[in-house]
Each structure stands twice: as C-alpha cells, then as structure tokens.
C-alpha cells in the first residue's frame, strides 16, 4: 500500500510533465490536423533555455531565493520557447498550409532533426546537469517498512501544472481567442470567411503549446537536474501517446492521457521491470489506437460514405 502510494505520487509528477507536452501536440493537431513532430524537441530546447537562465540567475544573484528564481526562469523560458515555436511555425509550416498532407509532416520531421542537431552543435553533446534544488521532502506515512514521501519538487511540479492548466483551460474556453481557436478547429476556411485571422490564431496556438512545453521543460530540469540534446524524442513520443490516449484534439484528454502514461510507466517500473517501461508505453499506444482510435475523450470519427 505504501509502495503504491509512493508510486502514485511519482507517477503523477511524471504524468504532469507528459500532460503539459501533450497539450502542445493536441492543440496543434486539433487546429491544423498535423502531428507536430518537432514538439518534443521544442520541449528539449526549453529545458536548455531554462538551464542557461538558472545558471545566469545563480551567477548574478546567487542561489538565495529559489522560488523567486524558479518563477523568473519559468517566465523567461516560456517567452523564449514561444518565440522559437512561433518562428518555427512561421518558417517551416506556414508556407505549407493548404498543401499536401505529408508536406508539413516531413517539414516537421526535418525541423525536429534540425533542432536536435542545432542544440548539439551550440551546446555540445554531453549531459548538462545543474546542482539539485528543492531537496527537502515531506514524509506522509512513516511505517516501519516503507516511508512515503512527497518532495518539494513534486509539490512544485504538480501545483504549477495544475495552476497553468487551469489558466489555459480558461483561455481556451472563455475568451474570444479560445473561441477563434475552436472555430478554426471546426472549419478553417469558414472561420476565415467570418473574419477570424486564421494565421494569427494558428500562431497563437503554437505559442501556447510552446509555453506549456517550456513549463514541462523547466519541471523536467527541476525533477532530474540533467538534460541532453537527445532528450526530446522519447518524452515527445510518450506525450504524443498521451495525447492520442486521451483523445487527440481534447485538452483535458491530453492531461488525463499524460497522467495515465506517467502512472503506467512508474507502476510498470516499480512492479515489473524497468527495462521494458518504454515498450509498455508504446504497446499501450498501439493497443489504444487499434481498439479505441478516438481515445478516452475524443470524438469518434464517423466514416462518411
């Protein structure tokens, strides 16, 4: 029971990160029907940006107020990652809008290769680590055999995720921007005819996706304290799995999917074998797609004849 509770906490933490990345996939897929392959690499890039800002702040102001530093880094990483994703959309995807379906996909794969190697070239191929932070933890249950703890890191990650998700949920559901986004999702041409600036709406979608990926990047860095240029792919694919699992196009679906993938991964590692945890995630993806292609919260696709 104690083990279970501890793994639940770990799984929720990891799942929050996946969920944050998954939203970027799901929003982009919803609005332009494209799997944004470079999104995992945008996440990796954001972790690097966060790493650099952490170090800058530490060297300028010292590592005194860690929470304040964290907020600064979060805001900066969100801004600069958004700028990156905005540029990527502008350069690599917008010229292909309305083009053939595979063209943006290939362009995105190209962008993913580019980003991975760009970071490798400018920051080097080695693992980059920062000194661990927020190391304290709260003991929840202290039985004789097992101690269930929740670390400050985990609290920060789960809380930040929850707050930001609520904020973005509000934007998408309640503001005119969100309405424009949902209109573009339904019918881009018609939305354009009705005076919605489709290009701008899509740009904002990419910016929002990147901002959430940046949050995930910062959290990833806080959790593991280390990042590598190749770290974009696997979390990216898992987050995509999460988006599909939750029902692609659905924002709460992406979060639920992310949490599920995180939990499955952690429990699999705890109870079975850590070696095959990624295999488990991919198998779930395959099984879900084959038997439940519309995911948990997605709308089923009716075949029109």
């Amino acid at each position: 029971m104690e083990v279970f509770l501890q793994q639940l906490i770990n799984g929720l933490t990891l799942g929050s990160i996946y969920g944050l990345i998954a939203i970027g996939y799901t929003m982009v897929f919803g609005i332009i029907g494209m799997v944004n392959f470079a999104h995992g690499d945008v996440f990796m890039l954001s972790a690097f940006i966060a790493l650099i800002f952490f170090m800058l702040i530490a060297s300028w102001f010292g590592a005194g107020l860690i929470v304040l530093a964290l907020i600064f880094v979060l805001v900066l990483a969100m801004f600069f990652t958004s700028l990156w994703n905005w540029t990527i959309e502008r350069v690599a995807y917008r010229p292909l809008r309305g083009s053939f379906r595979l063209a943006p996909l290939i362009s995105a794969i190209g962008m993913s290769i580019f980003l991975t190697n760009f970071v490798q070239v400018v920051q080097g191929p080695r693992n980059k680590s920062i000194p661990p932070m927020l190391n304290k933890s709260i003991t929840l249950i202290d039985s004789a055999t097992y101690t269930v703890q929740i670390s400050y890191k985990q609290i920060v990650i789960i809380l930040t995720t929850a707050i930001l998700l609520a904020a973005f949920w509000f934007i998408v559901q309640k503001t005119s921007l969100g309405r424009a986004q949902r209109a573009c999702e339904q019918d881009r041409k018609m939305a354009g005819l009705l005076g919605i600036d489709v290009d701008r709406t899509i740009s904002i979608t990419f910016v929002m996706g990147a901002a959430l990926a940046a949050v995930a990047g910062v959290m990833y860095l806080v959790l593991y304290g280390v990042v590598n240029f190749a770290d974009g792919f696997t979390p990216g694919v898992k987050a995509f799995t999460a988006a599909v699992l939750g029902g692609i196009g659905s924002l709460p679906g992406a979060v639920i999917g992310g949490l599920l993938i995180g939990l499955i991964e952690v429990f699999w590692s705890a109870y079975f074998t850590i070696d095959y945890k990624d295999v488990a995630a991919f198998c779930i993806l395959a099984v879900v797609l084959v038997f439940m292609p519309s995911g948990i919260l997605g709308r089923p696709e009716v075949e029109k004849v």
Binding site: I52, M55, F80, L83, A92, I113, V121, V237, F240
Partner: protein, 460 residues
Amino acid sequence: MAPVTQLPAARQLDMMKALKEAAFAAVVTFGLCIPIIAWGTRQNLDNVLVLDPRWDAVAWAVAIIFVGRFLMALRQQKRGEGKSVVRLLPHGTIGFFQRHSRLFSLAGLGFLVTFPIIAITLAGWGGALKWIDNFGVQILIYVMLGWGLNIVVGLAGLLDLGYVAFYAVGAYSYALLAKNFGLSFWILLPMSGILAAFWGMLLGFPVLRLRGDYLAIVTLAFGEIIRLILINWVEFSNGYAGISGIPRPTFFGIPFTAADDGFAAVFGLEFSPLYRTIFLYYVILGLALLTAFVTLRLRRLPVGRAWEALREDEIACRSLGINTTNTKLTAFSLGAMFGGFAGSFFAARQGFISPESFVFMESAIILAIVVLGGMGSLWGVAIAASVMIGGTELLRELDWLKQIFGPDFDPTKYRMLIFGFAMVVIMIWKPRGLISTREPTAFLKEKKAISADMVQEGHG
C-alpha cells in the same frame, strides 16, 4: 514631371519596407539567440557547469539573417507579390526526361554498372574504396530502402513511420542465423526478406484499418518496440553491444580474404579489400534493381492498380469489390520484404550491427527520401537518395573548410543539421517532391503524365 519625381520616392519606400522586414527578422533572430547561442554551457575542470558568453556568434547570426532577409525582401518586391518561384532547371526539363525516360533509365543503368570502373579510373585503387563504399553502396542502400518504402507510402498511400523495423528484422535475421547456424548469405538473403514480410503482415494486420496519422503513429510505435526489445532482450540480441563478427558474404563460396583460398588468390589477383567492396556494390545494385523491376511490374498488375486506387479513394475501392485489407497488407509486407533484403545486406556489409543503426531517425530519413523524391516516382526517390545521402557524405569531404574557419571546425558536426534544414527547404520549395507527375499504367492512344494536383496522397 510628376511621375518622374514619384518614381525614386516609390523606390525609397520599397527599401524602407525591406529594411523594416529585415530589422524585424533580425530582432527575432536576436531573441532566438539570446539563451541558446549567447551562452554556451561547458563542464570546467571541476566538472561543474559554467557559462561561456558567445556574443560574437549572436552578432554573426543576426547580421546574416538581417542581410539575407533584406535581399529576399527586395527580390520578392521585384517579382511582385505572390510566391516567388525558384527554378533550378529550365521549364520542361522534367517533362523532357519523362518523355525519354527509357533512354535515361538505360544511361543511368549504364552509369551504375560501370561506376566501380569509373571510380577506379578516376581515384585510383587506393581512393576508389571510399567512393564505392561511402557513396556507391551507401546511396544504393538508401535507394533500395526508398524504393521499398515507396510501395507502401508512394503507391498504397499508407504512411509508415516504422519502416526501419523491417530493416532491423532483416539485419538481425541474417546476423543471428549466420552466426548461430552458419548459413550462407545467399540462403539467408531471401530468408530475411521473407521473415521481414512475415513481420510486416503480423504487425500490419491489426493496424491497417487505422487511418491517416494514427497509422503513422502506430507504425512508429512498432518500430520503437522492436528496437527497444533488441536493446533489452540481451540473451537474444546482445543488447546495446550489438552483434559483431557477422560472417561476410562470399563470392559463391569463395571468401574475400588474403588466404590461399580467398578470392584474390583463386582468380590470380593481388589481394585488395576493394574486391569485396566492388562485389558488395554489385549485390546491392542487383537488389535495388530487383526492387525497381518488381515495383514497375506490379504497377501494371491489378494489385498495383488497386494500391494506387486505394491511395485515391478507399471507399470507392470497397464498392468495386477490392478487399482493401488484403491489398494494404500486400503493400505493407512487400515493402517490409525489401526492407528485410536491405537489412540483411547491411548486416553482411558491416559485419557488425547494433540497435543504434535502427533508430527512428532512419525511418524518418527513408520517408523523407520518398516524399522529397515525389511519391510513387522511382526516379525521384533515386535522385532524392543521391542528393540527401550523397550530400551529407560529401560534407565529410569538406576538410578544406578548416582552412577558413580554423582547425576546430568540423563539417561532419553539421551533417544532420544541414540534412534537417534541407528537408524543410525542399518541402517548402516542392511540397509534392522533385518529380511529382504520375505515369498512367495503361493507355489506349497515348500515355499522358498526370499532374500532381490531381493525384491524391492517401489517407492511411
């Protein structure tokens, strides 16, 4: 008088506009550079991460983007609004090639067959090895993989992102069966192909009813699953360490060694590693040509037409009595089979394989070759493979750049960076690939090439 005075004013305005655009691009670039280029991270001697400011690099990047964007803006103004058209070849070149495709195919074939001789003549015995191996064999492997995947993606319109899985199945089949049972290359080559086709069927059966991007993601997942199993199932595949000492192919039983019964000795030649390379070159050339031949044949058979019909409209296919599941499955497993052939060749050529060679990036590169070449076009795929693979190989040859950028400059570091960038650029330049017209498979009076605008690319 008035128009004359207005003219320079209009010019000035254009300049201002271009400058503004360039300045905007420069500001954005500066923003992009701030964290990631402006400070490099480096472990110091105490193994602590430190930051190195690199503002000179930022200045360079901003300056290059500013000038580049400025020139582009001027060029666009000169051409007027609308998309500027970039032409590398004069209008009608591709049409000319297609009209005389038989002639050019023969010429290309002639070049490929004589390539080792040309290489030896031009680069000598010592230098030819590199050209035949790094360029000839390497490019032909990708041409073959591209042609194999072309059946799945280009003809049947099924988006497969896990093609490398079948390449891996072929490679491991050869490696394990050759090492454990001592079977020869020529027996194992067809066997690995059949095994890969079997896997293709096994994996294809549950997933082929999925549509669109879902299929792409499931195939990606399968590709990763196979790779992860190869990594983790150490007793079977030796994990990360991979399999080494894989028996090399022999010339119908005669090994390519310096021994007395080796190829050189038997034929009374002086020993050279080049013979094996030339032999391998012809093997992969033969395999690639087999793929092309089968593809061309199948396109004219009902199954090939059904593939293309499936790409055009699956529902109509079903209404005409075509078993779409079987049709997809044949395309999928046939593509897998050619991947398996290529895989077993790869294992035999390298003598060493590890899961590292079968990462998702390989699938992406092969898919990129198919799409960049123009889906369905054998010529396009061959050209794209030569340009992308040959081009990145050429970067290895750019040592003279060190004289410009200093001895620390390593062009191979930028190989994949440029590869990724080139993918984006080619897609924007030609979204339907280099050769995008479709050739009909049957005709009454004359064969007219079909423009890409009408050809569908499939939803699966």
